[in-house]
Amino acid sequence: MSPLDAFRIALRAIFANRLRSALTSLGLIIGVSSVIVLIAVGQGTQRGVTDQIRGLGTDLIFIESSAEATTSQTGALAGLEQSTLVQGDAAAIAADGIPGVVAVAARVAVDAQAVAGANNVGAQIVSTSSGYAEVRDLAIRSGSFITPLHDEDGALVAVLGARVADTLYEGLDPIGQEVRLSFVGGRITLGFVVIGVLEEQGGASEANDQVFVPLSGTAGRLRFLYTPAGDLRVTQIDVQTASGADEQRVKEDVTELLLLLHETPEPDFVIQSQDDLISAATEVSNTLSILLGSIAGISLLVGGIGVMNIMLVSVTERTREIGIRRAVGATAGDIVKQFVTEALTLSLFGGIVGIAIGVGTSFALDGRELGGQEMTTLIQPWSIAMAFLVAAGVGFASGSYPAYRATTVDPIAALRNE
């Protein structure tokens, strides 16, 4: 029997029981489409996180105090108060002549309320220096960023993130206007002159909701930023390396220097390159993808059991047909071929429809707002290939045993006059 004939016979049997066939395929359709959608969502999320980390700048190494890293990253003052990183560390790294280090910028990030006229908005206040815009690839929409001059004179000037500016000034030009920043739950309020507004940053960049002020300006006025010894505490130090520099080497050198400065054998800080962050995020989202994929895989398995179940019923129902086919010359192999082809056709139908639905749903979800977050989906060709192969495998596996059962049908008994 040619494969084409086997396929024709399979189609005939499938169409003879349209509803049953459709319901049988449904299990696989759901399984295959959810595998594709869940993998697309997982990979899309991964891409989003990776882009966000890349968006921080290029060739960056971040140093955070261990205390800061373990408390919530909302700029909690508690974390800041325990921070062992000081401005002097940043200066030391810059001055040490570690090969590959291009720029160093320390920053203090504190949550505050920004007020202008009747408008106010919660923002993260990043106290830093003029080098920060370059390190973080921040583009200016109007005005200027903090200049080296501001670093010197400790002026109370502010550069607004795009969303902060838009919320506070609602389209008016904020340059030269006053913005009042209220720290520590309103206990300290300082007035700043707006000198620049940032370009809207792509993706989920945090810079849109930040306000940048010179560290020198705030430092003198915010007593709580100082250690008892009189050093200025910072929350984070960014080190920019030359492109192509050995980041691992730089990390080791910086670690060695800081251990020396902090007089501690064990690091009281966390040092991570962008690549470290990306691979950590990738690992998390890969784990998530595998988890989601396995859940979807279980529904594929259930779908396969459904196919096998229906094929077994079908064999039992069709003993007479099997007997007739045997009597007109069908070999056991022909009978196996017939039932395996039927299960395979059902499964592949389910697989193809499932792929169509999965790809369609992934496209439809892309860019949609879901639970306040924008969904990114990334359809993976390998997930489609895998779903298709699994569907084929399921069809083959779930058709094989019923097909074997079909060959054990005794044609004489099947053909006996009833």
Partner: protein, 235 residues
């Protein structure tokens, strides 16, 4: 063409063993038209199944066309069955939801034959169903369904047609038409027909009548070769 030697077929159902065939010797030549008669349970259908390679003897020899077929593999038996034998049953054993033409094409599919539609249509014409080619079984009378079954068994140009009570469910007039058709096939095309029947009128169309009882042949109206055998049937 068909030579059975001391063939037995024993069914063991639980404790007891049923000797459906208890030593059958039978020779059927090419172009013969043989009727097998006997009481219910005498082993007629069992004998037909063994001749048609649907079943294997428990012991004894079976030669078909001079070739020992008792030791053939399952697949070889299926192929020989498909090409050399045609079956017709009391219950027509057509597949539901298939047109007459598709029913008749079926054996050709398993032979991998070419030109299937034309050959199937020809077989239907041969049994007088020229105008019923696209009918489903439910749209055909009993006699017509049995003709489709005959066309299906003839389409491969078999050497032997095995008909187990083919007229059992038909009225006398239809029965006559069908038997006339079988007689013509024997006379004009040299087909060998082995027919099981309970009715003397049906058996009368055949040239030779074999009578069975309790798994043995007890009477054979004309079996020149077998009569000469040492373990002859007419005991």
């Amino acid at each position: 063409m068909i030579r059975l030697q001391d063939v037995t077929r024993v069914y063991s159902t639980g404790e007891t063993a049923v000797h459906a065939l208890a030593g059958v010797n039978l020779d059927i030549g090419g172009g013969e038209f043989v009727a097998i008669m006997g009481q219910s349970g005498s082993g007629k259908s069992t004998l037909m199944n063994i001749i048609g390679l649907l079943d294997r003897p428990s012991s004894g020899g079976y030669a078909f066309g001079g070739r020992d077929v008792s030791q053939l593999s399952e697949d070889a038996r299926a192929r020989l069955r498909g090409s050399a034998f045609g079956f017709v049953f009391q219950s027509y054993n057509l597949l539901p939801r298939m047109t007459a033409l598709e029913q008749v094409e079926l054996p050709l599919i398993y032979q991998g034959a070419a030109d299937r539609k034309r050959r199937a249509a020809q077989a239907l014409v041969r049994v007088g169903l020229k105008d019923r080619i696209t009918h489903l079984p439910t749209e055909l009378s009993g006699g017509e369904q049995q003709r489709v079954a005959i066309a299906r068994s003839l389409v491969v140009n078999p050497l032997v047609l095995l008909a187990d009570e083919p007229t059992g469910a038909l009225d006398t007039a239809t029965e006559h038409e069908l038997m006339t058709l079988l007689s013509e096939l024997v006379d004009q095309q040299g087909l060998t027909v082995v027919l099981v029947t309970h009715e003397a009128e049906v058996a009368a169309y055949a040239r030779r009548t074999v009578r069975m009882r309790d798994g043995r042949i007890v009477e054979d109206s004309g079996a020149p070769l077998v009569a000469a055998a040492p373990d002859g049937p007419a005991r």
